[in-house]
Amino acid sequence: MAKITLENLAHSYLPNPKHEDDYALKELNHDWVDGEAYALLGSSGCGKSTLLNIISGLLHPSQGRILFNDKDVTNAPTTQRNIAQVFQFPVVYDTMTVRDNLAFPLRNRGADPTYIKDRVQQIAAMIGMEDSLNHKARGLTADAKQKISLGRGMVREDVNALLFDEPLTVIDPHMKWELRTQLKSLHHEFGHTMIYVTHDQTEALTFADKVVVMYDGRVVQMGTPQELFETPEHTFVGYFIGSPGMNVLAAEVQGDTAVIGGTQIALGKGFGRPTGNVELGVRPEFTSLSAGDAGLPVTIKRVEDVGRHKIVRADFQGTEINILAGEGENISPDMNRVVFDNAGINVYSNSWRVAPEVA
């Protein structure tokens, strides 16, 4: 297992990049800790696959270095980086049995047959395929084949890192649960350094110790799921993480008070006098409806029943505000105010978070 260092790393698909916009991956510096699970999260075109391909060696960066345990591997081909990869679509040898598919990476490196036998058995138990070890991979469902791919990715204990590129996209929701939980317990058990690329926030948040949120070729925040939820560093993180995402409202902020469309809101903390385009970000989880006189005046447009909770879509002076209400909560017509729990209020200036003053 290895620590992975990204040093002044950037990539452009153009031969002579001049402007920052020419870079699909903008310059970044990061140390990824040995044994942690990271998720690269972002929408298509954000640069997450570019970054993964640079780490795996499929792509040579335009600038900067990549180090595994402080050793420069920037110019090393994939085969010399000692990594295991699992892709979006299953990669299995159809004519081989499940057992031979799982054993393949070990046999390739001349591992001891007794060790191979035990290890394959162990992996088969993890992916729940002990009973199909002697079956040919041909004819298995896509789910089963992807399980084999995952198992083969994890069969070697001596890899520097395990890279996953959207590995659960083709899997049914029910099976996703199972596989994700297995990956998670494997990580807990073996402590591999894992990097997992996905556009699905639930997968990223539940799988990773640290989630790396990417937007327009840039890492906008790297943090624990809790940090991304409670203190999104950029309004994009607030929008992208959470369903629905964070409410963002234009505001004037002075000290511990904000004014939004003529209504005063107490922030509970001081923010000085932020300049530029100032906005308040409040997640639907910290937003509630009230029938009192306090809060922003709103009109309820729609109430969506999502089972375990309700999503209330309200209009405030032409801006949509989303509110989460409990499954059994009654939404009465006289609820025409929105109030914020000030533990969940963040202030933004030009889309970046303004840290509150220390009291």
Partner: protein, 363 residues
């Protein structure tokens, strides 16, 4: 207008894809087919569309038997998981194509295309070719084409499955609004319970070629008529635990004795049953005084930022709980969880619902 399936079934290569099925769908309604991959959603849609002829039964549309009628003669629009557009045509021509086939006037076409493009937020891209658009825009183009066709039956087969999470969220909110006005019969296949809930309308849960329940979406979710429906319509999956009732005593499969009499337990006769409950109803604290308590071994926790998924091994079963807040609990240690009796569903051993959770009747 209504679309009625009467005892329709489909067998292909000796395999039954759809067992004899009855279903009635009304104009102006959204009807979700919810089930896992290969459960029969697409097969059922193909029978509705006339792409396949059923082995038994009849398809009746607007009172007329259309069982053998070709899809071309029926007025059906379909949108698939893959974005299907004509790559050599502009977005405008792609949307206009079904109307051109019907030889409608240029003015009619222009008005309809512009209206559909506006609804699907494609107006700035009308002159582009589909491949110059993002995946979300390409699928909007396919949806716009289905819309202008003004078909009596619109079939959407997992139309958002290939899109990014956030795009899916946006389109999912828009689709019911847009199609509500059109007055056609909408059928929407999905594998995701949350998608069914967000779309609203009616839901048919499908499992291994059979419709297990068809009703208004919140009713199917809260009052499943059998354990299969409950399982299909729950993500994470519903948790189950067997128990026996004799006299005033309940013996759960883990050996625990209880005298539960509230909610679905009220008035329950002697016999063998299965209790079911949803992950979000599992609690870490005893909130209700009569809450049931179970102790299992914590295998994994997953933190989403605002909530924590708890995976518990309890008496050989894997349970999933979803609790508010970030919980750092010790993996591998015993964990006690609590369940309000009002949140328990009770099924017979064959899976038939005996009593829904009492909270559900009020919700």
């Amino acid at each position: 207008m209504s679309l009625v399936l009467e005892g329709v079934s489909k067998v292909m290569n000796g395999q039954t894809h759809i067992y004899p099925t009855d279903l009635e769908l009304q104009s102006g309604t959204m009807n979700v087919l919810l089930g896992p991959t290969s459960s029969g959603k697409t097969s059922l849609m193909r029978l509705m569309a006339g792409l396949d002829v059923p082995n038994t039964g009849k398809v009746i549309w607007g009172g007329k038997d259309v069982t053998g009628m070709r899809v071309q003669d029926r007025g059906v629009a379909m949108v698939y998981q893959q974005f299907i557009n004509y790559p050599s045509m502009t977005v405008y021509e792609n949307i206009a194509s079904p109307m051109r086939l019907l030889k409608q006037s240029a003015d009619q076409i222009d008005a309809a295309v512009k209206k559909a493009a506006d609804l699907m937020k494609l107006t700035p891209f009308l002159d582009r070719k589909p491949l110059a658009l993002s995946g979300g825009q390409q699928q909007r183009c396919a949806l716009a084409r289905a819309l202008v066709k003004d078909a009596g039956l619109v079939l959407l087969d997992e139309p958002l499955a290939n899109l990014d999470y956030k795009l899916r969220e946006e389109l999912r909110a828009e689709i019911p609004k847009i199609f509500e006005e059109a007055g056609s019969i909408f059928v929407y296949a999905t594998t995701e319970p949350e998608e069914a809930l967000l779309l609203g309308g009616n839901t048919a849960t499908i499992w291994e070629g059979r419709i297990t329940q068809f009703d208004k979406t919140p009713i199917v979710y809260r009052q499943p008529v059998n354990a299969t429906t409950a399982r299909v319509f729950s993500d994470p999956p519903m948790n189950f635990l067997k128990f026996e009732k004799a006299g005033n005593q309940i013996r759960f499969a883990d050996g625990q004795l209880s005298s539960a009499t509230l909610g679905a337990f009220a008035g329950l006769g002697d016999g063998s049953y299965v209790a079911g409950f949803r992950p979000n109803h599992l609690k870490l604290n005893k909130e209700a005084p009569d809450a049931l308590e179970f102790t299992g071994k914590l295998t994994v926790t997953e933190i989403t930022g605002s909530e924590t998924f708890i995976h518990l091994k309890h008496h050989g079963e894997n349970w999933v709980g979803l609790v508010h807040g970030v919980k750092n609990l010790k993996i591998g240690a015993p964990l006690s969880v609590y369940l309000d009796q009002a949140h328990v569903y009770i099924f017979a051993q064959d899976g038939t619902s005996v009593a829904p959770a009492s909270y559900a009747a009020a919700a």
